[in-house]
């Protein structure tokens, strides 16, 4: 039974909010309860951004997650800010392209993914978020890659539809990074 609480954190422009929303849309498609809540602030570019996502087959209560099951960390300040909240034995996904030489706490499962490097090799640095998503899905199995691609197909219409291919590749590469 799915009962997942996740915090995704990084800076504005890394697609942090979108990652969380994709998971909530995938949950809604499957008629599973979900709640997405973003950090919000004055509308400025480049500030820190994070969102909380709950996916549960039971009713979702608190919109605020105090002890997440998983953390996806896209930049350095976010690791310092959130890692102590992670549940014991929780999953910590770190974008090591941007998070280097930072002490990581004990008692959690750490997955290091050089997401920006992988995305650049794929030819589009913007899909670093989907590389992280691929790793997250491969480990937690909350949803399949197909579930996420289905949401992308709903959301990316018209010109954007051409981006689905590279997102699929990013998910694959992210999965590979944690399973090899």
């Amino acid at each position: 039974m799915i009962n997942e609480q996740l915090i995704i954190a990084g800076f504005g422009g890394q697609g942090v909010m979108l990652m969380g929303q994709l998971l909530s849309f995938a949950a809604t498609n499957k008629d599973i309860n979900t709640l997405w809540f973003p950090s919000y602030g004055p509308e400025t570019r480049g500030g820190t951004a994070n969102c909380s996502v709950t996916i549960s087959e039971e009713s979702v209560n608190s919109p605020v997650i105090s002890k997440p099951d998983s953390l996806i960390i896209m930049n350095k300040p976010s690791l310092a800010k959130f890692q102590d909240k992670l549940k014991k034995d929780g999953c910590l996904f770190i974008n090591t392209s941007l998070v280097k030489d930072v002490p990581i706490r004990d008692g959690v499962n750490v997955y290091k993914i050089p997401a920006n490097d992988i995305a650049s090799k794929l030819g589009n640095p913007k899909v670093a978020n989907m590389v992280m998503m691929g790793a997250y899905l491969a480990v937690t199995k909350v949803f399949s890659q197909e579930d996420i691609i289905e949401v992308l197909k709903e959301k990316f219409v018209g010109e954007k539809a051409s981006l689905i291919g590279i997102n699929q590749e990013a998910l694959n590469e992210g999965a590979k990074a944690v399973t090899l």
Binding site: A27, T28, N33, F37, Y40, N61, S62, P63, V64
Partner: protein, 355 residues
């Protein structure tokens, strides 16, 4: 239509359209901007009215005009903007016009902050502007409930010819949850609007929309007429939910998104062997005094939890008349309490009363 995943502010906007909203007037303020943004696109496309006004004061007076002409009207804002609208709100109540006002609360006083808060509780539940009047005020805890109540709020406003306040906070405005927009909501027994001043004199005699009564006897009668409405709301339309109250030994009193967090807290308490209920006011005006009569005898301690410094405590005291020990836990400034903090507050209250 099935369930749709939507952001709170957008879901509330669509709920207003589904509730038959004819016109929206508003002014930008965080954290509710997605609401007018959504309506700017979808109201005009459906032949309805959308105007971004020059100020909150102007917006609420546009609401007054359109409501007086018979429209189902909405305005939305956040705390400092709602404070500015108080002038218009008291005129709307005084002239007995229906209108729906959504307050996506943020921290105060003054410019305060933009993070979630329930700091407008007193302003909302005491009327807010000058004179003797109240707003029928609903405090949903989820997007589904917000959508259902907003759809119904236009009926309630028309029924009472009185403004209805939807009191939510930045959490509800900003969160996304799946929502079913086709839930049936209560239809109220509405009379034709034969009082409108819309200029259409071919269909009705002269009508005047007014809140001015220079003769004290006239004004007293008018006030007593208004009071009858508020008495009727109190007698017949208190709304609340009792959660996990069977076998409860202690209870939390919380509304809106705070009650949502309290739901997680009572699960954690159960893991520790503490059976805690939640008394959740859905109407914060009229305050659900009836709910307190339904509390199990074993419950002697009530822990009021709010995102303010304890504005609801007075109402809980009035409702219980000294029969219970009242405790309080609150966070302010835009800080949202975590479930664990509420657990600690309940354990502390329980410990105090067992000493």
């Amino acid at each position: 239509m099935g369930k749709v995943l939507m952001k709170g502010n957008e879901a509330m906007a669509l709920a207003a359209i589904k509730g038959g909203c004819d016109a929206f007037f508003g002014y930008p303020i965080t954290p509710q901007n997605e609401l007018p943004e959504y309506l700017s696109k979808h109201m005009q496309a459906n032949g309805r009215v959308f105007v971004q006004s020059e100020s909150e004061v102007a917006a609420i007076n546009m609401v007054y005009g359109a409501a007086g002409a018979g429209a189902r009207v909405l305005t939305s804002s956040s705390s400092p903007g709602i404070a500015l609208k108080q002038e218009g709100i008291t005129y709307i109540a005084g002239a007995e016009l229906p209108a729906v006002i959504i307050n996506v609360m943020r921290g105060g006083p003054g410019l305060g902050g933009i993070q979630p808060s329930q700091g407008d509780y007193k302003q909302i539940t005491r009327g807010g502007g000058n004179g003797d009047y109240y707003l029928y005020s609903l405090a949903p805890e989820s997007l589904q409930e917000a959508v259902d109540l907003i759809k119904e709020s236009f009926e309630i406003a028309d029924y009472y010819r009185n403004p209805v306040m939807i009191a939510v906070d930045g959490l509800i405005g900003q969160m996304m949850e799946p929502v079913d927009f086709d839930h049936e909501v209560k239809k109220w027994d509405l009379k034709p609007k034969d009082w409108v001043a819309d200029g259409d004199r071919k269909s009705h005699p002269k009508n005047i929309i007014n809140s001015l009564y220079l003769d004290p006897t006239d004004l007293e009668n008018h006030n007593l007429k208004l009071k009858k409405k508020y008495d009727d709301m109190k007698a017949n339309h208190q709304r609340y939910e009792m959660i996990n109250m069977e076998n409860a030994e202690i209870a939390i009193v919380a509304f809106g998104s705070t009650s949502r967090i309290a739901r997680t807290a009572i699960q954690l308490l159960k893991e520790q062997g503490v059976n805690c209920g939640i008394l959740r006011p859905i109407t914060i005006y009229p305050f659900p005094e009836k709910a307190f009569k339904e509390l199990p005898k074993e419950v002697k301690d009530l822990v009021v939890v709010e995102m303010n410094t304890g504005q609801m405590i007075d109402d809980v005291k009035i409702a219980t008349m000294g029969t219970h020990n009242i405790h309080f836990y609150g966070r302010v400034g835009g800080i949202v309490p975590e479930a664990e903090e509420i657990v600690d507050a309940v354990l502390k209250a329980r410990g105090e009363s067992n000493e």
